[in-house]
Subunit: 362 residues, 2 copies
Amino acid sequence: MSEINLGITADMHVHLRDGAMSKLITPTVRSGGISICYVMPNLVPPITTKQQVINYHKQLNDIAPETTFLMSFYLSKDLTPELISECADEGLIHGIKCYPAGVTTNSKYGVDPNDFSQFYPLFEVMEKKGIILNLHGEKPGIEEKDEINIINAESKFLPALRKLHSDFPKLKIILEHTTTSEAIELVRELNSDKKEGDDITIGATITAHHLYLIIDNWASNPINYCKPVAKFHKDKKALIDAATSGEPWFFFGSDSAPHPIHKKQVHVDVCAGVYTQCNSVAYVAEIFDKYNKIENFKKFISDNGIKFYDLNEKILAKHKGESVWLIERENKVPEVIANGDVEVVPFKAGDELKYIVEWRKN
Amino acid sequence: MSEINLGITADMHVHLRDGAMSKLITPTVRSGGISICYVMPNLVPPITTKQQVINYHKQLNDIAPETTFLMSFYLSKDLTPELISECADEGLIHGIKCYPAGVTTNSKYGVDPNDFSQFYPLFEVMEKKGIILNLHGEKPGIEEKDEINIINAESKFLPALRKLHSDFPKLKIILEHTTTSEAIELVRELNSDKKEGDDITIGATITAHHLYLIIDNWASNPINYCKPVAKFHKDKKALIDAATSGEPWFFFGSDSAPHPIHKKQVHVDVCAGVYTQCNSVAYVAEIFDKYNKIENFKKFISDNGIKFYDLNEKILAKHKGESVWLIERENKVPEVIANGDVEVVPFKAGDELKYIVEWRKN
């Protein structure tokens, strides 16, 4: 039986919600095998003040004190350079998430990616302070003549990423939950001049579910519907190739996004999001195993993300006494997890998994 | 207020189901504005015997005696040249529907479009007797390496249509519920040598809902999910252009395919099909109106289909005393139609429509 020490693991894109849902799923960051997670700010209302960051962090920490929660702001006109500078200096935030208006859950407060210039004063401070810009990379289709749809929206967004990197070469930018071969190619291209030891400023997260799904798998299965949607075989192949490559700009961000099951069982307006937190490490390990790349697994699920976020010893110290171990042992994904009335159906509910995780003292 | 006499209308692709569902929706062929409909054979079990045809026709006729139901067989190994010949001579069937295995509702008894040769003896009789081959034009993806998905499945099927037409140039073939610009182009190409008055052997039906939907409209709305799925803006444009063109190879086939609403409100295995029967003529008229092509509406909804099916005076006689009139009058699509426990939510439920239909004596 094989066992692998993964050290301190990182999921750089989680949605931990609020209220009863948060109480249900926040502990599953750890039970799914993750030490450190980067928390998305798309609550209602979105997180745009220092006090909201402090309150939300306390709320999550009270639920799951053994987990490290890295916090973020929601990019909006409410943010100021002074606020970002202050929160960065105090170590309260690690990044700012940019949602194009209207593309996913609670994104109605989002921005127009055709015109980032209004945020350039913010990006200047972020670049200086090492605060990451997390991009939901989909271009919204406003009018029919734009010919934008959920399949090409990510590819149509890529010129905006290229321009941002050109205008702010030292700003750390992550293209979140990449789903297309085009996005993977661009991230590689923008890093093609990097040599071993160079600072990397363009990264990409890849989810667990996008390593499994194509369009056919969600079309008649709302449980697998998320934004950006899973695309085609060629895209899935590109994502698997990128994730398992060991390249330092690709790392894990689950985009685990739970919704109560009754919001998935509807004939109109299905909520976008796949919940993977409770088995996140095991889902991904199985792909690495299948493609004989398990030797690169720790890079993807731990080292690359921690390095990109430049997490200091103070943050890592909390986890130095323990390690996540990946153990080969058959188990099943739960059919449902519940907290009172809140029921969430996980990705691949009821399916067999090959791996479990265990936390062990060093 | 404008009024248009549509004469005898035809919907050349309907699913009228069985039992309580059939009792609910069969009368809506007429209330939706249709005189003559072509009935698909994908019951459980599929219709493959003379007695099944007779029974199903009687069952439908008992429910809605004013409507003409044109009957079909389900292409399978159970059919013989002798059976087809006999049923054709007696006027019992007008066509045979081919379902590729596994692509849509009750298609598990379907065929492999890579190998139609086993059915060539049937096609020979059909060609001779004027029996139509109705194709569900999607290539099933068996293995990942086939790179077939719900977006390219129709385009990947088109070479099979080309080969069938080449091998049986006089066999009447309809590519049903076309959804792509590629399919529209091929139907035009295969008819490019036709002159006014020539017999046409390649036709295509176009649904109401594919004139409205693209992928974004069904992705989070299972009520709009059908097979083949609605594709992209360019495809919708091509379908609207074809339908409104007046070209004789394009005609109406609603593919109205009701499912009980509880089979649409599920998080896995949503049933494929959009129910449009109750307002079918009005949905389509609105598109012709929007694109200033109402002068071609009667060709699409009446003349082209009746001509392609070569319906004789005996069949048409039943409808000579009455006409369907299209009347400009605002109305609303019902939120739901129901028969006891069976509830069906129509396409565009609750939306405003610009037209109604009336039946008037000549």
